[in-house]
Symmetry: C2
Subunit: 114 residues, 2 copies
């Protein structure tokens, strides 16, 4: 078991190329004994975004607060509190904060294959 509150988990700057104004908190991950998938919380500042990229692993995202856009293969959809997004592996995507408050979301990914 692991139990905590996100408020106590350090926020680290996302340093991947193409990320702007983004922090990540790893809430539950493989070192905690989670066998299959990891839960991370992202905060994207106004005018910030995650990198527009693709990768083999899927994303399952849930928006906790704020407003923005999910870009997917060149088109975009508005997202806000309560939005959920499934991005399959291999698709180009990112998340952009074009609002005036932080865009906050959970993003769950499978554990890296070994």
């Amino acid at each position: 078991m692991k139990i905590g509150n996100e408020a106590s988990v350090p926020r680290r700057e996302v340093k991947v190329e193409g990320a702007v104004g983004a922090t990540i908190q790893w809430l539950i991950a493989e070192p905690d004994g989670a066998p299959n998938f990891a839960m991370r919380r992202f905060v994207i500042a106004p005018d910030g975004h995650t990198p527009y990229h693709s990768h083999d692993d899927e994303h399952e995202v849930f928006v906790l607060s704020g407003k923005g856009k999910a870009f997917y293969e060149g088109s975009s959809t508005e997202i806000s509190t309560g939005s959920f997004v499934f991005i399959e592996g291999g698709a180009m995507h990112n998340f952009v904060n074009d609002g005036s408050e932080d865009l906050v979301f959970l993003c769950i990914i499978p554990n890296t294959k070994k």
Copy 2:
């Protein structure tokens, strides 16, 4: 890709024995093409709870709003907005709303093994 808002997803009563005042919404699941895990949103009414039980699959939970307790192998921990809980497979657990407002959380589980 799948994108939507939880507000548009039907809430179904949790009819498992031992569940009281609980609804579930399946936001992202295997029929959507999600290969590894499913995202569900639960709403537990005041005085309600999920069943106290165990199963092979793990839970990864994030509390969206409300207050309650996570019971785990006979002991309990307070949970509230921003709490996250990892329950490994095989452990007895449930979630109890002892507050005055709905207890709302996401619960992510692996796809059922075939």
